[in-house]
Symmetry: C2
Subunit: 351 residues, 2 copies
DNA sequence: TTGTAGGCGTTATCAT
DNA sequence: ATGATAACGCCTACAA
């Protein structure tokens, strides 16, 4: 038991000793611990772990062994301090519980994870001031920023973009890279769809006046309607929520149109609810369409005809752009496609 | 213009000079820059910014002025390296696009922001292995962790909890703090509601077998049904999604019950869709209820009767617990209330 | 109250 | 291929 016992192998002996020391100081293993266990210099450990090629296979293996022996995890703060890279990406959205951003968040998270980055999500609560603060708080700890639904003024945006790479989603500001869906395709499809159903008088239920994408949709709708030779009018601005759609019902009805293209599905849903309450039948008396194809659009009755955008792809792409070497020429990518999904909320125009 | 021009005030002159130097080295202002501009030692700057009381008012003000003059933001990495505190909190969820987690995320984000922390969100994609990896990656960069829908084994959980503070949501493991909704109240209300409608044969459409909260709900339902003297049977396990609910329809119908309590709203919705496809009327032929009251539950027709949990409060509370001094005695808090929301999917039992 | 002097864990730049 | 050493920006004894 005592004298006669064989001494444990020196290697694991040493490991135990080091482990004890680590525990004693109440921290995690560092490259110094590994260096000691592997019998090399800390800088060699750093290289072995960081740059595969630049070290002899033998030492690399010894280091790897020691590292896993001691359950080593690199200290991100120490690395960040030295390199300036935090390995984190920021995503700022106006409202986390807005179904529209779900898919953006998912796409962004996946792309970030795939690239070995961690995603930090912050909510601006639809307020520009808040958004500014949030961004200031986030900026020092992220390598880049994706703004999904910014309410910031262009100057402010440019200022931020000057400090860290910034990518916008569905928003365009000169000089700031952005991921924007190809509005035209989907819009043309809606208009064609409605015209084919015999509608000759349309309403665009606009979003917030500060929303770049709402204007963009309006322009595309206007052009398509003009081309199709049907009446078109913009009603708004409106709050882009279910309540916003509900509140607009009376104004919409007063326009005596036969079809409404809402800025987004949330508003379309609100509008449909208000219409139902007023006893207006959809689609027999009024056809309704939305944008986004959010969760819930196919749950409502009648199910909503809508222009779908691949928001998950938007999130992925925004993150990918963010990681692109800024000095490299941007590889031009195909625009995000949009397409019409025809469901029950559109039908023949009443006569 | 040249000779006659008044020299700018020395102070701002100095500031410009320092600003130029900062720009030249392509970084942000440091406490050294501030120290220089304010004419004090860097350590004094650190104190002035960090601990209000321990510095003379005059110097504190000079430092503050210099800091905002140079637009100083503290370098989180440098601070973290020294203090071991990163100022970040991790939230791990199984599926970001699951409506159930939205409110948790929002609550957590708000509480974190209020406490001056930044929330990092990671997705485990419903896989325990994945979750483990994600957590390992996250752990070194966060001060604490909230696991919203963990699939991890208790031992693993305990291991993680030993390294950083961990709080669980709707999941209980010995020794690991958690936020759990008070299932009983809501469950008793559903059962009472169904019994009052004349139902005598109920089905619980269970969630995943690994879900602690699904078992918890089942136990409460069983007890309440027993007390009310109505038949109750568990059907499952099932995948807790719309598709999972859809797939269970045939099995549910075969049970010839008159009311189904689904593990969550997603499954209830899927079930309702499948029933509609089969021509089964809800609630006249079959009453359906869910849990969670997610977005969409009041959109579907008939709108879903469901047991609502304040998930946002759960998120807030979990984060708050996370930040609590671990050495302090935990202040016991009132359990999260749940309550029944009666909508159209439940009605009198068919006779 | 303020200055001095390390040190946190890593990477980068020299040497060797 | 590897070792020594100096930063990175902040915090914190300790001294003054």
């Amino acid at each position: 038991m005592s004298e006669g016992a064989v001494t444990p192998a020196p290697a694991s002996d040493r490991a135990d000793e080091i482990r004890a020391r680590i525990r004693a100081r109440g921290g995690a293993a560092t490259i110094y611990d590994i260096a000691e266990l592997a019998g090399v210099n800390p800088s060699t450990v750093s290289r072995a772990l960081g740059k595969p090629g630049r070290i002899s296979v033998a030492t690399a293996e010894r280091v790897q062994a020691a590292a896993s022996e001691l359950d080593f995890r690199i200290n991100p703060a120490a690395r960040a301090l030295q390199t300036g890279k935090t390995g984190m990406l920021g995503l700022v959205v106006a409202d986390i519980t807005n179904p529209v951003v779900f898919d953006v968040v998912r796409g962004a998270e996946h792309e970030a994870a795939d690239a070995g980055y961690t995603l930090v999500i912050a909510e601006s609560q639809e307020s520009g001031e808040n958004e500014s603060e949030v961004i200031e708080r986030l900026l020092p700890s992220v390598d880049a920023l994706v703004l999904a639904t910014t309410r910031l003024a262009p100057e402010r945006l440019l200022d931020i973009a000057g400090r860290k790479p910034v990518v916008l989603i569905n928003e365009a500001v000169d000089e700031v890279p952005s991921v924007v869906a190809d509005v035209e395709t989907g819009v043309n499809e809606v208009i064609d769809h409605l015209v084919a159903l015999g509608h000759t008088s349309l309403v665009y239920l606009a979003g917030p006046s500060t929303s770049w994408i709402s204007r963009r949709r309006w322009e595309a709708i206007f052009a398509a309607a003009e081309r199709a030779d049907v009446a078109i009018v913009e009603a708004g601005p409106n709050v882009p929520t279910i309540d916003g759609g509900r509140d607009a019902a009376r104004r919409v009805l007063a326009l005596r149109a036969t079809a409404v293209i809402a800025y987004n599905d949330l508003m379309a849903i609100g509008l449909m609810q208000a219409l139902a309450a007023e006893g207006i039948a959809v689609p027999s008396q009024l056809s309704i369409t939305g944008f986004d194809d959010i969760f819930g659009s196919d749950l409502i009755v009648p199910a909503l005809t809508t222009v779908r955008t691949d928001l998950e792809a938007a999130g992925r792409r925004a993150v990918a752009m963010t990681l692109q070497d800024q000095s490299q020429p941007q590889t031009p990518v195909a625009p995000l496609l949009t397409g019409l999904i025809v469901r029950g909320s559109t039908g023949p125009a009443p006569r």
